[in-house]
């Protein structure tokens, strides 16, 4: 602390001894914008955007500014405490007792040392502090020897289907429109550029520029969301039916309009690959490579044959006595036969004529054939994009919904080219000019399909994981495409599942970093009773006592907040921080602007101490050496690798990471002064699609084999019922959620949740400034229902109603009659309705939507294991109100 961090000194008043601005990174959400903190005599008095960084471009949002109140929140956990009430459960008073750090460490070491089997450890972490979890979590998992891991929010609030499909199709975590050149965007259930954490502030600015320029936006959403309210057109749609509409649009584009980007489909996808009658690729017997049909040569050739003159997309061809059809032809026929607009309308409630009109507008807006020259390189310009996120993917059809929307982009060639849909964060990076790191460029598998080089988690989205007898307690390793897996752990069946699959160890210790999974996975009772209470000892790092800690934690350690800690890299891996378009790469750090107050200590430092205390620091250091090349692109220099027999502090490690990635003169001391290092992006990085020799699937041949393997594996354990194998099909399909098939007419509304732009998952509701905003806003603490529907039920504003799902789960709250809501829906702001003693500000405000969610097999995507986050409900007045 002190002068070395001062970037400017402007002493204003004679009695002020210190007045400095320090560059760091916000931790209010996963966008992690670059900010400047103003410290006067040891107190942070102001936060503002850092104009030097593209990650935020000098702006700061309401959540960011309000983090001052979280830093100095007097309800925060400031000392280690232990539970003295042996009872655990939702709403239980843990009767915390303050303990010393020494006692906390001793208890922790003893619990770990006495474990029956280290594999019974489970790491659960928040996605809000996304950079903090990149080191300690995987390093400790390797060092202590366990594989159980869960990102809270991953079940309901994150993107199973989205991340998986974006990984396959864009080598990226998410997709956003290229606002700089875009003229027409379809948004399905998302708020990118309008409050979503995807490069939140730069995106907001570019989206506003695009609006001002006349970009047309069409938003499909059950309610008039922030995004929809800024669009040219809001199309009310039933929850979870986005994929059916997208398939209907594809049908219009291919079969009615006859529009597609043939060069893109031929060269950048598997559209020309020949498919046999048994749905598999026709392969070259010699090389085993998939074949295409060259109409000029009049014969089949391997997809990468340099003599190819043209590729057939349509027709049928005889190859060695087999009738083969290009994948594209199959897709075209499939949507024609199975997704006529009448069907899409029946599923989604969007009129066929509207779907046809919007499909036509989209296809025409893509301006197929146009090019643009950027930095002397001529590349396709496709100013149309189709984008999705939470709304589309929080359903049984999670994976396919996302893919179906994204297929629109690939049919018109609008993927990772100017104006189109862009992988985000940018998936191609050539690295800092001095070091060539972080370097990551996707490459082709033997079948020509795109494979990511580095990925946020251990398993890459493609090639699919081999279904294998599970080692994890959540059985995730059974499934080939699973990103997170909630349905096994959150149901009463969990123990039986483990038995059925011969898991030979028990859940013993949970380490929780910052997450509040009691409020972010499913209904609170289910999560607590079925999952969390199965652990003998729960260690939790938190800044507040929340619903999770009060229900199940045995020891709570007072974590530092982001203004009190070091994080060596927040903008890589670039999942959410970098804007997409020509600008700069930025490597930002986080540094303590104030020393941790009270007895707070930083999570990464404490986990390192725990590893040392347990005598596994050598493996911990080795694990960090191993993971850096995967997460931060490029091998480590020998000089900066950690010596497993050495001894390092968290700051030493941070310093080495920085020097290794950015150069010897850019260690921690140097970066503390600037807070960041930036360098210009290249056109080959940002608009990489045509510069990178990879194809993506429009036909998912590899699902067939995977599905069969999965079925065989599950059957071998007598649990063939644990997946719906129809999902493992090569051609996009729409599968309904249980809510779409509910037959009891008294359940006449769909309930869904949404996120106000000024809240981050379950972590911000207790912030008093954000609470003030929420109280002020008419839509946050009330449940929105269509006014006509409400009146027909005899309801008026503020009437208290029960919202009940077919399983009998119910939540209570006041309604607000609105016009901006599909008549068959009730919309509830997610992650509200807190009840913890430790969060008195948010307590009892808003509703806890997740209580309506039961993440059993029926409510799970059989492809990605994403949880269905919608429910069919009935509503009725609370008696006596």
């Amino acid at each position: 602390m002190g002068d070395e961090m001062a970037t400017t000194t402007t002493v204003q008043e004679p009695n002020v001894k210190e007045d400095v601005w320090i560059n760091t990174s916000c931790g209010g959400c996963y966008a992690q914008c670059g900010i400047r903190a103003h410290r006067v005599d040891g107190v942070i008095v102001e936060l503002e955007g850092n104009p030097e960084t593209p990650a935020g471009s000098g702006r700061i949002c309401a959540k960011g500014t309000a983090q001052l109140m979280t830093l100095y929140d007097r309800y925060r956990v400031n000392y280690p405490v232990k539970r003295t009430n042996p009872e655990k459960g939702v709403g239980v008073d843990p009767k915390w007792e303050r303990i010393s750090w020494e006692e906390a460490y001793e208890t922790i070491f003893e619990k770990f040392r006495n474990m029956k089997d280290p594999r019974g450890t489970y790491f659960q972490a928040t996605t809000v502090q996304t950079s903090e979890i990149r080191f300690a979590v995987p390093a400790f998992m390797k060092a202590w020897g366990f594989k159980n891991y869960w990102v809270s929010g991953g079940g309901l609030w994150c993107g199973n289907g989205a991340h998986f499909m974006n990984g396959i199709m864009h080598a990226a975590w998410s997709i956003i429109p290229d606002w700089n050149y875009n003229k027409y965007t379809l948004y399905f259930g998302c708020s990118k550029g309008h409050g979503a954490g995807h490069a939140a502030l730069q995106s907001a600015q570019w989206a506003a520029d695009a609006r001002a320029r006349g970009m047309k936006a069409v938003v499909f959403d059950p309610f008039l969301s922030t995004q929809a309210s800024k669009a040219h057109e809001w199309v009310p749609i039933r929850v979870g039916t986005d994929g059916a509409v997208a398939l209907g649009m594809i049908n219009v584009i291919l079969n009615e309009l006859g529009i597609w980007d043939a060069p893109y489909l031929k060269l950048k996808t598997n559209a020309p690959y020949l498919i046999r009658p048994d749905q598999h690729y026709k392969r070259d017997p010699e090389t085993n490579k998939p074949l295409i049909w060259d109409p000029k040569a009049g014969r089949a050739k391997t997809f990468d044959d340099p003599t190819i003159e043209d590729y057939a997309l349509e027709g049928t061809f005889e190859v060695d006595g087999t009738t083969c059809t290009p994948a594209f032809q199959l897709l075209k026929e499939h949507v024609k036969e199975n997704y006529p607009l009448e069907k899409a309308e029946k599923i989604s409630s969007v009129p066929a004529a509207t779907i046809r009109r919007i499909a036509t507008e989209f296809a025409e807006a893509a301006e197929i054939g146009r090019t643009i020259t950027i930095d002397g390189k001529e590349i396709p310009l496709r100013p149309a994009a189709a984008i999705f996120f939470r709304g589309s993917q929080g359903h049984v059809n999670s994976g396919w919904n996302c893919l179906e929307i994204d297929l629109l982009n690939h049919i018109v060639g609008a993927a990772d080219v100017p104006g189109g849909s862009m992988g985000h964060g940018p998936p191609v990076s050539f690295g800092h000019p001095d070091t060539g790191k972080p370097e990551t460029v996707p490459y082709a598998c033997p079948d020509g399909l795109m494979t990511v080089k580095g990925w946020v988690y251990d398993h890459k989205p493609y090639p699919l994981r081999e279904p294998a007898p599970p080692q994890r307690l959540d059985l995730q390793d059974l499934y080939p495409c699973s990103v997170y897996n909630a349905f096994t752990i959150c149901t009463p069946e969990w123990e039986k599942y483990r038995k059925d699959f011969n898991i030979d160890y028990e859940p013993e210790i949970m380490i929780n970093f910052g997450s509040n999974s009691v409020m972010t996975m499913a209904n609170a009772e289910g999560v607590t009773e079925n999952f969390l209470k199965q652990f003998d000892f729960v260690l939790s790092f938190n800044i507040y006592q929340n619903e999770f800690t009060e229900a199940v934690a045995d020891i709570v350690l007072p974590d530092a907040s982001f203004l009190e800690r070091y994080t060596p890299c927040v903008t890589f891996p670039s999942t959410f921080c970098h804007p997409t378009g020509m600008d700069h790469w930025v490597w930002q750090i986080r540094q303590p602007v104030v020393e941790p107050l009270h007895e707070r200590r930083d999570f990464n430092e404490v986990m390192l101490e725990i590893a040392k205390g347990l005598g596994v620091q050598d493996k911990y250091f080795q694990a960090i050496n191993d993971l850096i090349p995967v997460r931060y692109g490029g091998e480590m220099d020998e000089e900066y690798k950690l010596d497993p027999s050495g001894d390092y502090s968290w700051q030493d490690i941070s310093d080495r990471v920085l020097k290794d990635r950015l150069g010897p003169d850019k260690g921690l001391e140097a970066l503390k002064k600037t807070g960041l290092e930036k360098w210009p992006t290249k056109v080959e990085e940002m608009y990489w699609r045509w510069f990178t020799p990879v194809r993506v699937p429009i036909y998912f041949e590899f699902f067939l084999e995977s599905g069969k393997k999965l079925q065989k594996l599950l059957s071998s354990f007598g649990r063939e019922d644990m997946a719906d194998y129809r999902f493992y099909t090569p051609l996009a399909e729409w599968f309904p959620c249980p809510s779409h098939e509910e037959e009891d007419p008294t359940f006449d509304l769909w309930a869904f949740s949404w996120r106000p732009s000024f809240h981050t998952q379950s972590s911000t509701q207790n912030n008093p400034w954000l609470d003030e905003v929420s109280v002020n806003d008419p839509f946050v603490y009330l449940m929105q229902i269509n006014a006509t529907t409400g009146k027909s039920k005899g309801l008026k504003d503020n009437d208290m109603v029960w919202v009940e799902n077919p399983d009998g789960n119910k939540i209570k709250g006041p309604v607000k009659l609105v016009e901006g809501m599909h008549p068959e829906h009730i919309g509830i702001a997610g992650c509200h309705g807190h009840w913890a003693r430790g969060t008195p500000i948010s307590k009892g405000k808003g509703q806890f939507f997740d209580d309506l969610i039961n993440p059993d097999l029926a409510h799970t995507d059989s492809l990605t294991q994403g949880s269905d986050a919608c429910a069919k409900v009935k509503i009725y007045k609370v008696a006596g109100r």
């Binding site: 006067v40 040891g42 107190v43 942070i44 008095v45 102001e46 503002e48 955007g49 000098g58 702006r59 700061i60 949002c61 309401a62 500014t65 309000a66 001052l68 109140m69 830093l71 100095y72 929140d73 007097r74 309800y75 309008h194 409050g195 939140a200 502030l201 907001a204 600015q205 989206a207 506003a208 520029d209 609006r211 001002a212 008039l224 922030t226 309210s229 800024k230 040219h232 809001w234 009310p236 732009s757 000024f758 008093p768 400034w769 003030e772 905003v773 002020n776 806003d777 008419p778 839509f779 269509n786 006014a787 006509t788 609105v818 016009e819 901006g820 809501m821 008549p823 008195p840 500000i841």
Partner: protein, 209 residues
């Protein structure tokens, strides 16, 4: 002398409340006081309903209704057209609060901590904020937005302008026909809120679509 004014572009604004919260932080306003209030509203009916945020600030009127009714002379206009309240002259009669047609003035009785259930002293930040508030403003008196007069004097922009992620807010000199605010008003059909109130606001809005 420049006459300072605001342009708020409703088509760029997406209703994120950054302006409201950064104003609070920059001016250390006590609990319940927001000088840059955001007012969301829904109009029309399903399925063509609209939702639009209306971000407010003091309109720094040329003919301020608040000044007209002030019995003590506490309300004045500076050379840049900023309407100010002299904390030593204001006797807290609230006449201006009732007179202001834009709801831009607020008053607060005392400093209320945001953490009422906590024991002990204010945290260092709230203690600092309280001191800052008391330096420029106070309790019982009328308080209002002054377009971040002190920040502007230091060469910075008003806090709400600086934070706005959508760059929906522009600050500048209305007297200078070449300033960004003047050009925006001219080119993009800038309008004043309720001109019929007759106060001639210095805050202009650009249409939502």
């Amino acid at each position: 002398m420049p006459r300072y004014g605001f342009v708020i572009d409703l088509k760029r604004c997406y209703g994120c409340y950054s302006c409201q919260v950064s104003c609070k932080a920059a001016n250390f306003t006590p609990r319940g006081i927001d000088w840059a209030q955001c007012v969301p509203a829904e109009t029309g009916s399903f399925p063509t309903a609209l939702r639009q945020m209306l971000p407010l600030v003091c309109q720094q009127c040329k003919e301020p209704a608040c000044k007209e009714v002030c019995p003590t002379g506490a309300t004045t206009q500076d050379e840049n057209g900023i309407v100010l309240v002299d904390k030593n002259l204001c006797m807290g009669c609230k006449a201006c609060i009732m007179a202001c047609p834009y709801g831009a003035r607020q008053t607060v009785g005392d400093w209320q901590t945001y953490f009422p259930d906590a024991e002990g002293e204010l945290d260092p930040y709230e203690a600092y904020a309280k001191k800052q508030w008391e330096k420029k403003n106070g309790y019982g008196m009328a308080t209002k937005c002054d377009y971040c007069k002190d920040r502007v004097a230091e060469g910075r922009k008003p806090a709400c302008v600086e934070s706005c992620p959508a760059k929906a807010r522009t600050f500048g000199d209305l007297e200078d026909p070449e300033s960004e605010v003047s050009m925006l008003i001219r080119r993009e059909y800038g309008f004043q809120l309720n001109p019929e109130f007759g106060t001639d606001p210095a805050c202009f809005y650009l249409p939502p679509r």
